[in-house]
């Protein structure tokens, strides 16, 4: 299978990539790792006439701890996050996400920025970004701007990025003490996209109540959703089994789901709620100081 012929250009800087995007408009696509874009091009679902390769912009391939935030460059590979012991210790949710994407080779090719810019409805980074309240940094002709997680996801495969903007980095706020987070994914077969996935990030106060809570749900709708109803039921409350069950009901009802080969709408809704309850359990164990590795459902 071959994509349609295209013209190839290697960007030498972010500004160069922005200028090329501005010049070629909708004809052009950015190539980062290629893990998602190249299969779509081979299927001829995406047919750029100009391919702008940003894969060598090494300034986008690092991560930095900046005070109360972690900033990850757009070209950081999933594998880099999955193997990062410091990220696993401080934001285990991100390690959970990265370690469950595709397979080893796909994690070696695919990038954080590429996955978010593509925004597959069943992608794993979206729920994590929503649960943690992250921010996306984009460079365009007018300079850099920041897009809040809640404003980023527009529709299936559609984000708030303008056609001439380059996603350059993602910021995740670091939680305060007594924090726990987890991402659970259910896939029908190894390496597949999620039927449903769920991210939970919480902090506990002195009395063991949820001081902050974020819940992101993916795979059940066209875009990942932040389940504010479930968050409201838990915020300021002790996370008892009863409270968590109430919040799970809110997760089940927050979307109408949809039918496809991986499952029915009702199955997806149910699965989302189950994954939420299990993610809560893992996040609470981590908040209590327990070391919990990646949970494969």
């Amino acid at each position: 299978m071959y994509p349609r012929a295209f013209r190839y250009q290697r960007a030498t800087s972010v500004e160069h990539a922005v200028a090329l995007l501005h010049q070629y408009g909708e004809e052009a696509r950015l190539l980062a790792g290629g893990a998602s874009l190249i299969p779509l091009m081979k299927l001829r679902l995406v047919n750029p006439s100009v391919l702008i390769d940003i894969g060598r912009l090494d300034t986008l391939a690092g991560r930095v701890w900046a005070g109360d935030r972690l900033v990850i460059g757009a070209l950081v590979r999933h594998a880099d996050v999955a193997d990062d012991a410091e990220i696993a210790a401080r934001l285990p949710l991100l390690r959970d996400v990265a370690a469950q994407i595709g397979d080893v080779q796909i994690r070696n090719m695919g990038t954080l920025g590429g996955a978010l810019a593509e925004t597959d409805p069943a992608g794993d980074w979206g729920p994590a970004l929503l649960a943690l309240g992250g921010m996306v940094h984009a460079m365009g002709p007018a300079g850099e701007r920041t897009i809040a997680a809640d404003d980023f996801f527009v529709d299936a495969y559609t984000t708030a990025l303008a056609p001439d903007e380059v996603l350059v980095a993602v910021t995740f706020p670091l939680p305060a003490a007594r924090a726990g987070s987890a991402h659970l994914k259910f896939e029908v077969r190894a390496g597949d996209f999620a039927v449903a996935n769920c991210s939970v990030a919480l902090t506990l106060d002195e009395a063991g109540r949820c001081a902050t809570i974020g819940v992101g749900l993916g795979g059940v709708g066209l875009v990942p959703v932040r389940v504010v109803q479930a968050e409201a039921l838990l915020r300021g409350e002790e996370p008892t089994p009863e409270r968590i069950a109430e919040a799970a009901a809110a997760v089940r009802e927050c979307t109408e789901g949809f039918d496809d080969v991986r499952g029915s709408a009702a199955y997806r809704q149910h699965l989302g709620a189950v994954l939420f309850e299990r993610a809560m359990a893992v996040a609470l164990r981590r908040a209590a100081g327990e070391q919990v590795g990646v949970v494969h459902v």
């Binding site: 071959y2 349609r4 012929a5 190839y8 250009q9 290697r10 290629g34 390769d53 595709g102 080779q105």
Partner: protein
């Protein structure tokens, strides 16, 4: 390639200039530099097989699923059906042909890599189609984790499909090779 490339006769240009349909690239494959002028859309797996004649790297599904085309690029295992050759420009590629070592036994005599030897002994191949990709994924695992558990081996080859379903013997072979490679490393 299934279609004739209309730009086949146009002169190549460097990647930093105007966008081009053909580019001249240099790829280091198993320690040797190869310079070729290729269509921008040429896949790395076809570059290896058709331009360089290195047909050890197989094409199975051609959809980034089966892993038969697994090679290492700058030390990372990737699926060569899901990468353009131009992305490997200037990079170091290792293919299954780069596993066996030449020996002093004479021209063409080669000593199998411990993984290849273990696959041979543990009957880790039936039709052999998935084997090159399995070997490259197993090598990537052992380079990062010399003493993996069976569960870790299974996850490491999750991106490689064996349609003979001979997975148990493949896992056995990787365990055997890991043990031997650790012993060699201890020496």
């Amino acid at each position: 390639m299934s279609e004739r490339d209309p730009a086949a006769l146009s002169p190549s240009v460097s990647a930093a200039e105007a966008p081009a349909e053909r580019l001249t690239i240099t790829v280091w494959v198993n320690g040797q530099a190869y310079t070729r002028t290729v269509p921008a859309r040429l896949l790395l797996v076809d570059f290896l097989r058709n331009e360089l004649g290195l047909t050890g790297t197989h094409i199975g599904c051609d959809t980034s699923t089966c892993g038969a085309c697994t090679v290492h690029v700058d030390g990372r295992s990737v699926k060569a059906c899901t990468m353009f050759a131009v992305q490997a420009d200037g990079r170091a590629v290792r293919t299954v042909e780069g596993l066996a070592h030449p020996t002093e036994g004479g021209p063409g005599e080669r000593e199998l890599h411990p993984l290849q030897q273990a696959f041979h002994e543990a009957h880790a191949l039936q039709c052999g189609y998935c084997t090159p990709g399995m070997l490259m994924s197993a090598l990537y695992l052992l380079e990062h984790n010399p003493n993996p558990t069976r569960d870790e081996i299974k996850r490491a080859i999750a991106g490689n499909l064996c349609r003979c379903t001979g997975y148990h013997f493949i896992i056995d072979a990787i365990e055997l090779a890991a043990a031997r490679m650790r012993q060699q490393g201890d020496r």
